[in-house]
């Protein structure tokens, strides 16, 4: 891959002796749609925590962009501003505020307190909000309080907030959890479209959803990469079958 956007190599992290991530190496290209699957405790969420600066690894490197910046040691806010957006497992939108306010807060604009204090609504920003709302199918819900939205709508709103940040890399943690079949289809479409112009990494449990994404799959197990390739390729891997079925039947 010559257009590598993110390069994680040899990363390890342990909590109280438990190795959550064990010399993990993953490369993400731009644009790319990548699914990361793995049983519970495989280190999927910790992997995202490391990239977004929430968790500091014990060893290894995380290199970002064409200028090869190390993300380790950067604050969460700096990493977000460098172009990495993250969607949490549970939909986390600002429930007390309207859909429009949620999106406005996420829009790529100066983030300093002074700039925010003196911020004025512009037609350009309004148009961007409208466009994103259209993309996530919430055009009619802009004035609604986010807390009133359905579970699926909240997930879309959060994806919309990610898009509003205009990140180069989107980390999406279990976007399909708790969604109906139609909602899943719509989510797949949104993610696929987003991945045409940027890198999108989806962490997912649900094989059916991953199949629909139709992309390269990385299987994590006990904190390191077990297999990588197309879904059919990795699911025919005997170790993967053993890990999944073994856990599934336990």
């Amino acid at each position: 891959m010559n257009n590598t956007l993110l390069e994680v190599s040899g990363v390890s992290v342990s909590f109280d002796g438990f190795k959550a991530i064990n010399s993990l190496s993953i490369q993400i290209a731009e644009p790319e749609l990548r699914a990361i699957i793995g049983p519970n405790g495989a280190g999927k969420t910790t992997f995202m925590d490391i990239i977004t600066g929430k968790t500091k690894p014990d060893e290894g490197t995380v290199i970002w962009g064409e200028r090869n910046i190390s993300l380790l040691g950067m604050s969460e806010a700096d990493i977000a501003n460098a172009g990495i957006g993250r969607k949490f497992q549970k939909p986390t939108v600002f429930e007390a505020q309207t859909v429009r306010q949620n999106l406005a807060m996420a829009l790529k604009n100066p983030r300093s307190p002074l700039a925010v204090l003196l911020h004025r609504k512009t037609s350009r920003n309004a148009a961007r909000i409208e466009a994103i709302a259209e993309e996530i199918g919430l055009s009619d819900s802009l004035p609604r309080i986010a807390g009133e939205l359905s579970h699926g709508q909240k997930q879309w709103l959060e994806i919309g907030m990610l898009l509003a940040q205009e990140p180069r890399l989107l980390l999406v943690d279990e976007p399909a959890a708790g969604m109906t079949v139609e909602e899943r289809e719509k989510t797949t479409d949104i993610l696929k479209r987003a991945a045409q112009t940027r890198a999108v990494v989806v962490v997912e449990h649900d094989m059916e959803f991953v199949r629909r994404l139709n992309c390269k799959v990385t299987v994590l197990h006990e904190g390191s990469v077990l297999a990588e390739g197309s879904l059919d390729h990795v699911t025919s891997n005997p170790t993967v079958i053993e890990v999944y079925l073994g856990r599934g039947h336990a």
Binding site: E76, A77, N81, R86, T92, A104, R111, P113, L117, H119
Partner: protein, 388 residues
């Protein structure tokens, strides 16, 4: 502030209009105006209440909007009071000393005058030297600057240390309370330079206005307090209604999410914490000349807790709620503890409100928290249905 700000926030217009009407009514009814329907002491109480409303909206912004339960904002209020009190006391004592020395045949030296003033002010704590704290006490402008700078700097340094280390929630509350307690205990010491537990007194006498009656002075401070509350309300309403309001409410509801959106949360908290501390200092500087006296007990942690109770009862996250809470509870408190409320004789026991008021307040606080989390201000939601 553009037109859309007022248009989008009709409650601001309502508040300013009601405050204006209230101010007009008190002015017309005051002894200074001539009608004398409202006693001078009542004007002072109302003026002080307006100052408490001002610190309450500051508390609402820092707690109700930004989610920082500060139990230290009354310390900033007290610092503002001490800062203005130092000038008031110095300038008045200087006037008294100068007039008493003026009759002497040999003019006194500057040192003698300074010693005499020092003796007057600090004799009560067995000292006559001016502590370094009083370096600017002879200068009204510099001392007014202190009203803003000292609370602001203290909040900036304290906030920077606390927020940078990501101290949040109850731990931050405890830290702010410790700060208040430390400040109060330090002030209680006789060698603090601020007259120990005597505090500063005679603050109701304004140097340069010796001939003015207390009726006039009280009305002037009442009007000043009303103006400060109006301006403070507009400032905070403007801050919380825009994108800044979105971000700080986001911090309140989900700090991590705001961080992952790329906002440096620490900077926002520091801004809000410091700004509200400065406004609290200004409120204190207006309050204590009306109270006439300030002493370290005013800065006790309990005062800051009351502040949180007012805001909770009035309704967090809405500025007029904080005003209602502060005005309602503080006025009710002075009615109950001032002997205004009749004692209730149960036959076997007599409820004296001076003793039982705190119990009543505590019970109301629990009831509001449990049954009306939106506070008194929440009742307005039933009156005004927001178009959805």
């Amino acid at each position: 502030m553009n037109r859309s700000f007022i248009a989008q926030n009709p409650s601001v217009l309502w508040f300013i209009a009601l405050l204006g009407l209230f101010t007009l009514a008190v002015t017309v009814g005051s002894e200074a105006f001539g009608t004398g329907l409202i006693s001078t002491s009542m004007v002072k109480t109302l003026g002080k209440t307006l100052c408490l409303c001002l610190i309450a909206i500051a508390m609402d912004v820092v707690w109700g909007y930004c989610g920082i339960l500060s139990l230290g904002h009354f310390a900033f209020f007290g610092i503002g009071g001490y800062a203005i009190g130092m000038w008031l006391m110095y300038a008045r004592t200087e006037g008294i000393v100068l007039s008493s020395l003026s009759g002497q045949a040999i003019p006194s030296t500057a040192q003698e005058i300074s010693d005499a003033i020092g003796n007057q002010i600090f004799g009560v704590v067995g000292s006559s030297d001016f502590p370094w704290l009083w370096a600017f006490a002879d200068n009204l402008f510099l001392q007014l600057l202190m009203v803003v700078l000292v609370p602001g700097l203290l909040a900036l340094v304290f906030g920077w240390l606390a927020f940078r280390s990501r101290v949040t929630g109850v731990y931050l509350s405890i830290l702010t309370q410790a700060m208040t307690l430390a400040l109060s205990l330090w002030l209680f010491q006789n060698d603090s330079g601020l007259r120990g537990n005597n505090g500063l007194s005679g603050l109701q006498n304004i140097p340069g206005f010796e001939t003015a009656s207390q009726a006039d002075i009280s009305l002037a401070f009442f009007l000043g307090s009303a103006l400060a509350l109006a301006l403070g309300y507009l400032l905070f309403a403007w801050i919380v209604s825009g994108k800044m309001g979105s971000v700080i409410q986001g911090i309140r509801d989900n700090e991590a999410r705001v961080r992952f959106l790329g906002y440096r949360v620490e900077g926002y908290k520091l801004f809000i914490f410091t700004l509200t501390a400065v406004i609290s200092g200004i409120a204190g500087a207006l309050y204590y000349p009306q109270a006439g006296i300030i002493n370290p007990a005013e800065l006790a942690p309990i005062a800051s807790i009351y502040l949180a109770v007012w805001v909770a009862i009035g309704g967090r996250g809405r500025l007029y709620g904080a005003v209602i809470g502060a005005a309602f509870v503080s006025l009710l408190s002075s009615w109950f503890t001032g002997g205004g409320a009749p004692a209730i004789d149960l036959g076997f026991y007599t409820i004296l409100w001076t003793d039982w008021w705190l119990v009543l307040l505590g019970v109301s606080f629990v009831c509001v928290t449990l049954f009306f989390p939106k506070g008194i201000g929440g009742l307005f939601d039933y009156l005004v249905r927001k178009p959805s």
